[in-house]
């Protein structure tokens, strides 16, 4: 086989030149980074997330400051000039979407991170108006009450997606975590409320402790390839069984990881940690390596590769169920 393998793929109804997509991360805040990503062969970019709490908190905090320092003293009826315009991160985000759209030829996917089905979801519409080609809804709900049932939470997810879908005309991908009692059912429900894509998986905030100060420390460690397995498992199980396109994010570091993700059935594989570690230019390396791998392994296109290892395609589907568990245990004891 002499021709160059076809790396194009489809995701959320968009045609991408490559299945490699930088996932939503702080890297995407910078327009120059986005240009570099396109240059390095990204199929699309998912912009950094606009956090529901951030917007509300910023506005509330500023309002508190302005209110509490106003009209209290005869000499100082206020301490700040009138704001020139309401902006907040929200405003800046929409501008960023517009600029990204202007600067890039590849699709730009906006990202909203929220947990409530309140008025803030109208922001989805604004992101669409700002020019985003699609929206990734990163639902990040941390149940902290003993009264909250799984059913309530699942319903919240569905309501939220439905709400967002009802306000936007662009495709919506839903990024979720793996910790559902029945992930396939949850995926199916998200499918039924209109999700156009499912992104596996977001990473829950995992606080650490500072033992000297006895304080909780917020940080997130970069992922490693080991995180990929969980994603492969669920994508391979669900691919072809639900309508939404599937994406893998988390644990994609090497060309083998990319190939595994596609073979599991993912339309795109997303990267952050790998880019943070190796630089944006690493995307280009991966693209070349993917091309080379496919050439060596005689795959003509990503489409041909996609789903080669789903539960339906492999010789031993039991490996995705409890049988696999026994097998792993067995391999360990040997």
């Amino acid at each position: 086989m002499s021709s160059v393998p076809d790396l194009t793929t489809g995701y959320l109804g968009l045609k991408l030149s490559s299945p490699l997509v930088p996932s939503s991360s702080p890297l995407c805040r910078d327009l120059d980074n986005l240009r570099a990503m396109e240059e390095a062969g990204a199929g699309a970019v998912v912009l950094h997330s606009l956090f529901e709490e951030q917007i509300t908190r910023e506005d509330d905090a500023l309002d508190d400051v302005l209110l509490q320092s106003s009209n209290a003293s005869a000499e100082a009826l206020s301490y700040f000039p009138e704001m020139q315009a309401w902006g907040s991160s929200y405003h800046a985000y929409l501008q960023h979407v517009q600029r990204a759209k202007k600067a890039l030829r590849i699709p730009v996917i906006g990202s909203l991170n929220g947990a409530s089905s309140g008025g803030w979801v109208r922001l989805a519409r604004d992101i669409e108006d700002a020019g985003a080609d699609a929206l990734e809804l990163n639902i990040y709900f941390v149940p902290s009450s003993v009264d909250m049932t799984s059913a309530d939470i699942e319903q919240n997810y569905c309501d939220l997606v439905q709400d967002v879908k009802s306000r936007t005309g662009i495709p919506v991908a839903v990024k979720i975590g793996p910790w559902f009692t029945s992930l396939p059912n949850m995926a199916s429900r998200l499918d039924s409320v209109g999700a156009d894509g499912l992104v596996f998986f977001n990473r829950f905030y995992q606080p650490d402790f500072d033992l000297e100060s006895l304080e909780v420390v917020a940080n997130l460690e970069l992922s490693g390839s080991s995180a990929l397995r969980q994603r492969l498992h669920w994508v391979a199980l669900l691919a072809n069984h639900i309508r939404p396109d599937l994406a893998i994010t988390g644990g994609v570091h090497t060309v083998e990881d990319v190939v595994k993700g596609i073979m599991a059935g993912a339309h795109v594989v997303m990267l952050t940690s790998a880019l943070l570690r190796n630089g944006i230019g690493y995307l280009n390396d991966l693209r070349l390596q993917l091309s080379e791998w496919m050439t060596v392994h005689e795959y003509e296109s990503v489409g041909q590769m996609r789903g080669a290892m789903t539960v339906d395609a492999v010789a031993e589907p039991g490996a995705f169920g409890r049988v696999n568990y026994l097998k792993v245990l067995g391999s360990y004891t040997k």
């Binding site: 500023l62 301490y79 000039p81």
Partner: protein, 1212 residues
């Protein structure tokens, strides 16, 4: 639920094609000034600051003047600077203005003579204010404008918000035509801050009034190298006099020019003014002459008296200078028999106040042509915003009826010393029952005033009603009470005085009920709205007797709402403004309920649109849920309460506190007679201890077993409410039950007890102590050694504990190591319970100063926050120790504080020198040994100073003994008078960055150069805090401040580096939150250095835009980012051959954004202009990097020490 007498005849129908707007006097003046000028140079000063701020805001928003160009607004470093810039811009041919008042206007005087002498057209708009004499006052009278009446400026007075806008234009038109510069003035606060409904002049109106030909003529007179001229010559005796007389025709012509401008204005707008407006009976026998806002009260009074058939009238003076005697005489009815001229100023020693003298002179000159010869008397009223009411005006008319009316009287106060006051009939009232009169009691931070300003705007702009709002603020910065006075109705409102009989009273804070009789102001049958944590069914039992009595006696309708709960339920935290505003509209019935709610929501949307949809939405929710929670209370039939108002001060307080200060504290200072007050402005210190404000919802509570006795909480407490002592166990024998103590963690003193006590009624609840506490529970880390807990249940117990604590003797100073923070906590603070903001970042430094040196300190304090919380009557925080020693404190001015402090130093030095000379002269009589030991005393340590005190006591004893009953000789008496100066004194010069970096910098620099032993403490908040957040040269790049709305574009001035250039100044840059040890060290070294010392102290501030509970964390972050490097420059080290520069903090461990983006002053820009914010952040980071390199370079220089060893100043 509606008040009965509201009518709303012309809702939404504008009265004329011009816009009806509801604004205050400052905005009215600024609107015309901004529209008719090209350059505006200002410096902030209360109450005129808002004019400059509005202008800056409008220019930032791109609003143009009537020629379509955006005026250039520049903030200067002082009013002197502003006047110079104005003078220069005028000479350059631009239309230029400024806004100022009071001391600011005085600083402009030299340039004003020049501007007038050169016949230059300009208008200065002045919110007229009192001058600092026996004390400072920010409030309104005419002392400042009267002080510039000799400059040659024309003086034009406005009496109402509408008149301010009108006269601003008339002045602008007149100055161009007459070539005389104008002061256009109106009463500070009463008019500058009164919100009223006015007709807004349009740009077309202004174009019609202002001749472009005259503008071009103004330009043609400018300095221009294309047609060069020379101005500012030095003139000799041969011609100066004649040249001075050349201007006479211009002054002669001016009154007619102004009157003609007024006629043209009347033709344009229908509002008629005359140079002297007469109002009253055409055949009046008694006439009062006055100017400014008091004329409105005068009008009401004259109307009322005329209705009773009295022949009275008054003249409202508009053009005071040039004074047209002819026009004045023409305005007077020929029937007048007696005239009272009321001056809102005082000119001690003069035969009369200025307006009085001018009237007498005018009448004298005009008498030839008239048949009448009225009697003229003069009187004073209204100094520093003292109320002037129709009743006072009536008392003046009563006096004029007397066969021999008193001259040089005062009205509005009780003069029991020289007996010049007129009796006022308090029952005389002209309040219109048709006008709704609403009074609201709120807390500074609860949004009451903001909501009421909104309400007045809604009423003014959404209805056809007339509306007026006036707001009275507490002079304290924490826990300040605000009282809003709102009037509205179908008749024009002229009442330029506070509401005394309210038809609606709202109390927004339940705790006020136990402090003041809020219902004293309620009229019979009024409506009372109370924010109450208790439901309607229970609230009665929680009211003090005074409130119950008022409700029953006056037949009040009484409503309650738990506004705090409603606000919280709607995501508004404790902010009750919107909830209470909704209730007010519902109860006042000014609009139908649905219209009122729609109007409130429109106002919310308008007010908060720049704060984001989340803010608007939660306010909407609060509006929607308010009315369902508003309930009418069925009062009991009789007074049932078992408690009453708290006494203002304890019966243990000294006589002066009880009889003079307590009435001020209780809000009854107006009733104090002249004789009660000190004649020269001298007041006792240590009086804040008697004002128990009980502000804190929560107070710190110690967990003794967790406490490590580090003293950090004591150190950082901004209000000195946490104190520590070491004592013997026997001293706790009589302690109240629950008084806690622990074995002392001091080496060698384990047998002693350590007590840490909170003053529960003085705490403001800021929480800094908890934030700084390093000791956490091992099992529950959120619990620290000190934690906040609700005050109410603790109050009685902790009050008893505090009182007991005060009886325990202070720890012996000589036993302590002063550079040890742990020991510093045991030093008695001689600065306590200031009215500073809760969590203030400045006061801990002042407290530390007084702990270390307070018993021998003289403090010169620049005007600013520190002079307000430091010297604001009635409660003064500077106090004395048990021996009666403590800081002697004074505030001279804003601009001269360094020089003032230097003067104090010179005085101490001179007297010390004289005392030493005298000791030498009397040595034989007191004993050579004592004399020698006094003259050569080592006072470099506390112990040394203590020994010198003993010697001086001995000296005084021996000196007194020299008399042997025959009297002391003059030298001995002189020595007794100055012997105290032989004990080491230190002079502290304290002020903020506005003083040190801007207005006072010239003097400060001179004091550096003087080499004298003064200690300068700059409380650097990086902004003008006291006047409301204007940019100073200490403001860092990228911070948003007034006059830097788009983020400051230049770097913070490096004051330390500038001082360092002398090489002889001790300099330290400190931040208590980053290193308390370094701070203490710096204070000790500064005091020890015998030359000038400068400490620049990072002071977090409410103007930084975050909850001050995090102030210390921010200080730390400032240091960790390298933005606020800690260092000390000690010339004493230089003298020893060592590097005098010592860096006390490490290179940055955090990027700048981790510090600045915790603060609203920086994030505001990120929100409104993210790109510019990013650009400025990068530049600011570069500033930090560059400066750090410079400091590092300074610290790394190698010096050869005395012993030859290498010395570097870099922190290991």
């Amino acid at each position: 639920m509606q008040l009965p007498h509201v009518t709303n005849p012309t809702m939404n129908e504008p009265l004329s094609p011009r816009r009806q707007i509801t604004i205050d006097g400052n905005e009215a003046a600024a609107w015309v000034a901004h529209s008719t000028n090209e350059v505006i140079a200002i410096y902030p000063i209360t109450p005129s600051s808002a004019m400059g701020e509005s202008s800056d805001q409008w220019s930032t928003e791109g609003k143009t003047n009537i020629w379509g160009s955006v005026p250039l607004v520049v903030e200067m470093q002082s009013e002197g600077g502003a006047a110079g810039a104005v003078h220069g811009a005028l000479q350059g041919g631009t239309l230029t203005t400024t806004f100022t008042c009071s001391q600011g206007l005085l600083l402009m005087i030299p340039n004003m003579y020049k501007i007038a002498g050169e016949l230059t057209s300009t208008v200065f708009h002045v919110a007229a204010r009192a001058l600092a004499g026996q004390g400072l006052s920010i409030f309104g009278d005419h002392q400042d404008v009267m002080a510039v009446r000799a400059t040659g400026f024309a003086l034009l007075s406005s009496h109402s918000v509408q008149a301010v806008m009108d006269m601003a234009l008339i002045a602008q038109a007149s100055t161009l035509e007459s070539r005389l510069p104008f002061i256009h003035f109106f009463d500070g606060f009463r008019t500058s801050h009164e919100v009223a409904k006015v007709e807004q002049l349009t740009h077309e109106d202004m174009r019609a009034m202002i001749s472009d030909d005259l503008v071009r003529a103004h330009r043609a007179r400018s300095l221009n190298p294309d047609r060069p001229v020379l101005r500012g010559t030095a003139q000799n005796p041969d011609v100066y006099f004649q040249a001075r007389e050349t201007v006479n025709p211009f002054y002669d012509a001016c009154p007619s020019i102004v009157q003609n401008a007024m006629y043209r204005f009347a033709a344009l707008t229908g509002r008629r003014y005359r140079l002297f407006d007469y109002f009253g009976a055409p055949d009046a026998d008694r006439v009062v002459v006055l100017m400014g806002s008091a004329t409105l009260a005068a009008e009401e009074c004259v109307e009322a008296l005329r209705a009773r058939g009295e022949k009275v009238g008054f003249i409202n003076v508009h053009l005071y200078r040039p004074f047209s005697a002819e026009a004045f005489a023409a305005a007077l009815p020929s029937t007048v028999r007696s005239i009272a001229v009321l001056d809102r100023t005082k000119e001690p020693g003069s035969p009369g106040e200025p307006l009085y003298l001018d009237v007498v002179t005018a009448l004298n000159e005009q008498r030839a042509g008239h048949s009448f010869s009225p009697l003229v008397v003069g009187g004073r009223y209204g100094l520093a915003s003292k109320e002037f009411t129709p009743a006072m005006m009536a008392s003046v008319f009563r006096e004029l009826e007397q066969p021999k009316p008193r001259n040089h009287f005062v009205v509005g106060i009780n003069d029991d010393v020289t007996h010049r006051s007129l009796q006022v009939d308090a029952s005389f009232s002209t309040e219109d029952p048709e006008t709704v009169r609403a009074v609201f009691f709120g807390l500074g931070a609860d949004g009451t005033v903001g909501a009421n300003k909104n309400s007045i705007k809604i009423i003014g702009e959404d209805t056809g009603l007339f509306a007026q709002g006036y707001f009275v603020y507490d002079s304290k910065k924490s826990g300040a009470m605000t009282v809003s006075h709102l009037r509205f109705g179908s008749k024009p409102i002229r009442s330029s005085y506070l509401i005394a009989r309210a038809s609606f009273v709202a109390c927004h804070q339940f705790s006020f009920l136990e402090r003041i009789d809020v219902l004293d102001v309620a009229d019979q049958g009024a409506t009372f709205l109370l924010n109450s944590p208790f439901p309607a069914s229970e609230v009665w039992e929680h009211l003090p007797r005074a409130a119950q009595r008022q409700i029953l006696n006056k037949g009040l309708r009484f409503f309650v709402i738990d506004a705090v709960r409603v606000a919280k339920e709607n995501g508004m935290a404790g902010r009750i403004n919107t909830v209470m505003q909704t209730c007010f509209f519902a109860l006042s019935g000014v609009l139908p309920e649905d219209q009122a709610i729609a109007a409130i929501k429109r106002a919310i949307e308008k007010s908060y649109k720049k704060r984001g949809p989340a803010v608007i939405e939660k306010n909407f929710r609060a509006v929607d849920s308010s009315l369902a929670n508003l309930h009418e209370v069925d009062p009991h039939a009789r007074v049932t309460s078992t408690f009453d108002l708290r006494p203002t001060v304890s019966s243990q307080a000294p006589e002066f506190v009880r009889s003079v200060l307590a009435p001020m504290m209780g809000g009854h200072g107006d009733n104090l007679p002249v004789g009660a007050l000190p004649v020269d402005g001298t007041y006792p210190t240590g009086t804040s201890q008697w004002e128990k404000r009980n502000l804190a919802q929560e107070i710190p509570v110690l967990v003794q077993e967790l406490c490590i006795q580090c003293g950090k909480c004591v150190m950082v407490c901004p209000h000195s409410v946490i104190r520590a002592k070491l004592c013997g166990a026997e001293q706790l024998a009589g302690a109240p039950a629950g008084f806690s103590s622990a074995a002392a963690h001091w080496k060698g003193r384990e047998h002693m007890r350590y007590v840490l006590q909170v003053a529960p009624e003085d705490c403001t609840g800021c929480g800094l102590c908890v934030e700084v506490c390093p000791a956490k529970s091992k099992t529950e880390p959120k619990k620290k050694a000190i934690n906040m807990s609700p005050q109410a249940p603790l109050r009685d117990r902790e009050r008893a504990n505090w009182e007991y604590f005060l009886t325990i003797p202070e720890t012996d100073r000589l036993s302590l190591t002063l550079h040890n923070v742990k020991d510093v906590q045991l030093l008695q603070p001689l600065f306590e319970f200031p009215g500073a903001c809760a969590g203030c970042g400045e006061t801990p430094y002042i407290k530390l100063l007084t702990q270390l040196f307070g018993d021998r300190a003289v403090i010169a304090n620049a005007t600013g926050c520190s002079s307000i919380y430091g010297g604001n009557l009635p409660a003064t925080p500077y106090t004395k120790n048990r021996e009666g020693r403590g800081p002697a404190w004074s505030n001279s001015l804003f601009e001269d504080n360094a020089e003032f402090g230097l003067g104090l130093r010179l005085s101490v030095d001179k007297q010390e020198q004289y005392a030493k000379e005298l000791v030498g002269r009397v040595a034989a009589r007191i004993g050579e040994e004592l004399a020698t030991s006094i003259l050569h005393a080592d006072q470099t340590s506390e112990a040394g100073i203590d020994r010198q005190r003993e010697r001086i006591a001995e000296l005084e004893t021996r000196l007194r003994a020299t008399g042997n009953g025959t009297g002391l000789d003059p030298e001995v008496r002189d020595l007794l008078a100055v012997a105290g100066t032989l004990i080491k004194k230190n002079v502290w010069i304290v002020g903020g960055d506005g003083w040190a970096y801007d207005i006072g910098y010239g003097g400060l620099d001179h004091v550096f150069a003087s080499g004298r032993n003064v200690n300068i403490l700059v409380l650097d908040t990086e902004v003008y805090s006291n006047t409301g957040g204007q940019m100073s040269k200490a403001t860092p790049r990228a911070a948003v401040a007034k006059f830097a709305a788009g983020g400051k574009r230049s770097a913070k001035k490096d004051l330390a580096m500038m001082a360092m250039s002398y090489g002889t100044v001790y300099i330290a840059r400190v931040a208590l939150g980053a290193s308390d040890t370094q701070t203490v060290k710096a204070f000790l070294e500064a005091e020890a250095w015998a030359g000038p010392s400068l400490i620049i102290a990072y002071s977090h501030c409410i103007a930084h835009g975050y909850d001050l509970v995090h102030g210390l964390d921010q200080q730390k972050a400032a240091v960790q980012t390298g933005s606020w490097p800690l260092f000390r420059y000690n010339p004493a080290l230089g003298a020893e051959g060592q590097n005098p520069f010592q860096l006390d903090s490490r290179p940055a461990t955090l990027p700048l954004e981790k510090y600045i983006y915790n603060e609203g002053r920086f994030t505001m820009l990120v929100q409104s202009d993210p790109e510019e914010a990013a650009r400025l952040l990068a530049e600011a980071q570069e500033d930090v990097n560059l400066r750090w390199k410079q400091y590092e370079h300074l610290a790394s220089r190698v010096f050869e020490g005395k012993q030859g060893e290498s010395k570097q100043g870099v922190k290991a």
